[in-house]
């Protein structure tokens, strides 16, 4: 059991894994069940400051907080950091606004089977974005470490690769078995955006289907902004305590945004709008056309309802609802 040859990733660690600081923050954070309803505009104004580090719930094009991301562009927030934990359409939106200058990257610039975002790649190839590499599991476990209140978690990913070399992880030796392990540092984002199926006005949230990392992200983040398909009565939460994923004390703001994951998929509600997502990718190929597209769809819309309306409104949603239910 030697401690020889233990390597450290050379990537920048953007956020401190200091659990004492995090504890002190969470200690003073108010834990009253008060009405947290607000608007997308107010929530972004109040909780997002230039330079903040952002975590985005969902899975890139599934259960994503689209309205909040649009508002970040609209309010021209700058120099943000964010965790690219399967960041697909969310990364694409933030790239459209050139809102960030650093990124913990596990999956960025792509949209899975749909292809790659020309515009996001342009940004990441420009040399102006500071990037630290991770894997999906590593980022999941970084959120989990923070949620658990420990400064790191051990794991067995990333060892031996350039992904490790350009990360900010560290090799350690197991105190029991002597084996080499990777330690990933806790990640405490400044703000999380999470879209959920149902929430009460205090921020108790239910999510259907996969959680991705949102249970942990909500606990890891200093501030949490929830958009929800529906506000439900507080009594509904208490009727099935087993369904509550995020408890109220994690949450700072709640906004009812029906169809809020559009053009992403909302499990059980509506499927992704593949035509519109293809349009994004197509427009990106021509910077001028893309700029006009973003102006029309985001900058010059006053809210998410206008965006929905521009792209088919209720009828489109109904169609996506039918696709979701295989009709």
């Amino acid at each position: 059991m030697s401690t020889k040859n233990l390597q450290t990733g050379q990537g920048e660690l953007f956020m401190s894994p200091n659990v004492e600081d995090a504890r002190a923050f969470f200690h003073q954070k108010k834990k009253l069940m008060t009405n947290k309803l607000t608007s997308v505009k107010e929530a972004v104004e109040r909780y997002i400051h230039n330079g903040d580090y952002l975590a985005i719930g969902g899975f890139g094009g599934v259960r994503i907080p689209t309205s909040l991301l649009h508002e970040v562009i609209r309010q021209q927030k700058k120099n943000l950091g964010f965790s690219g934990h399967v960041a697909t359409h969310d990364c694409q939106i933030l790239s459209a606004g050139e809102c960030f200058n650093r990124c913990d990257a596990a999956y960025i610039v792509g949209l899975e089977a749909r292809g790659l975002s020309t515009n996001a790649r342009r940004l990441f190839e420009s040399g102006t974005i500071q990037v630290t590499e991770w894997s999906n599991a590593a980022l999941s476990w970084r959120f989990k470490a923070a949620a658990m209140g420990v400064p790191f978690l051990p794991c067995r990913s990333m060892l031996g690769t350039d992904t490790f070399k350009y990360s900010a992880a560290k090799e350690i030796e197991c105190p029991f078995t002597g084996q080499k392990l990777l330690a990933v540092p806790a990640l405490f984002p400044d703000v999380a955006f999470i879209h959920v199926h149902r929430a009460d006005i205090y921020g108790n949230c239910q999510i259907d289907g996969i959680l991705v990392a949102d249970d942990d992200i909500a606990k890891a983040s200093k501030h949490v902004i929830i958009t929800t398909e529906k506000i439900i009565d507080h009594e509904e939460i208490r009727r099935e305590p087993g369904k509550t994923i995020i408890p109220f004390w994690c949450v700072d703001a709640v906004i009812e945004v029906p169809f809020g994951s559009y053009p992403g998929n909302m499990p059980g509600e509506y499927y992704s709008d593949e035509e519109h997502l293809a349009e994004w990718l197509k427009k990106e190929k021509n910077p001028e056309e893309f700029a006009a597209f973003i102006r029309k769809n985001i900058l010059e819309t006053k809210d998410f309802y206008e965006y929905l309306q521009l792209n088919g409104g209720i009828q489109k949603i109904q169609k996506l609802h039918q696709t979701e239910h295989l009709l």
């Binding site: 894997s135 590593a138 992904t163 996969i210 499990p267």
Partner: protein
Amino acid sequence: MELMVTIASRNLEDGAVVVVGTGVPCAAAMLAQMTQSPNLTILFEAGGIAPLLPSMPISVGDSRTTYKGLKSTSMAEIMEFCQAGIVDYCFLGGAQIDQYGNLNSTMIGTDYNKPITRFPGSGGANDLASLCWKTMVVTPQNQKRFVKKVDFVTTPGYLQGGNSRTEAGLPVNTGPYKVITDIGVYGYHPETRQMMLLSLHPGKTLDDVKNNAEFEILIPEKYEITEEPTDFELKILREKVDPNGLVIGRK
């Protein structure tokens, strides 16, 4: 493409557990389930467990991946199942692969801070290849993809060959298993861990193998000729797995 999907599917025995992505891997797993492996357990890294897939998912996290599934959970839990040794197979791709099965899906270029081309990065690939027992790669084969040295080791194969993978701390007895291309099927030498021909597709030659890789692929004295998809396999693949030709191509 039909051939590649079919070969991939034949490698998934009944009772195995596989983590798949969208596209070819998902089609292969569905085909296996509808042919020899009804008890194949299919996981998706975003949290879907054993759905009755009604059609091909577009995203590894979309609602198809939990359709009538056995469990829906978090990405961490799926990765932890892999880390605990539950998962037999994963399927990966990449922009570049080297002779030891190391994969690059991060960047092309020599300066990390200013990539010529930026790709998505690891996603879950590094984790799955680190933690599952056997990694399968399905990829077109050419000199641009089969390179002497990948620009960035996103995802571990056998690293520098020999025992280097285990020495790096990765779980023992894991690693690249097969590479399925449009030319042949490859495995790895049990000691040096170099890529090695296992079977040649009908109509392909050893020259095709050699001319479509920058590195030397080992050619053993005995290798097989790939068995073509049976009529039954093709029928299931075309009619049930991928009726819209999303993976195998539209007719």
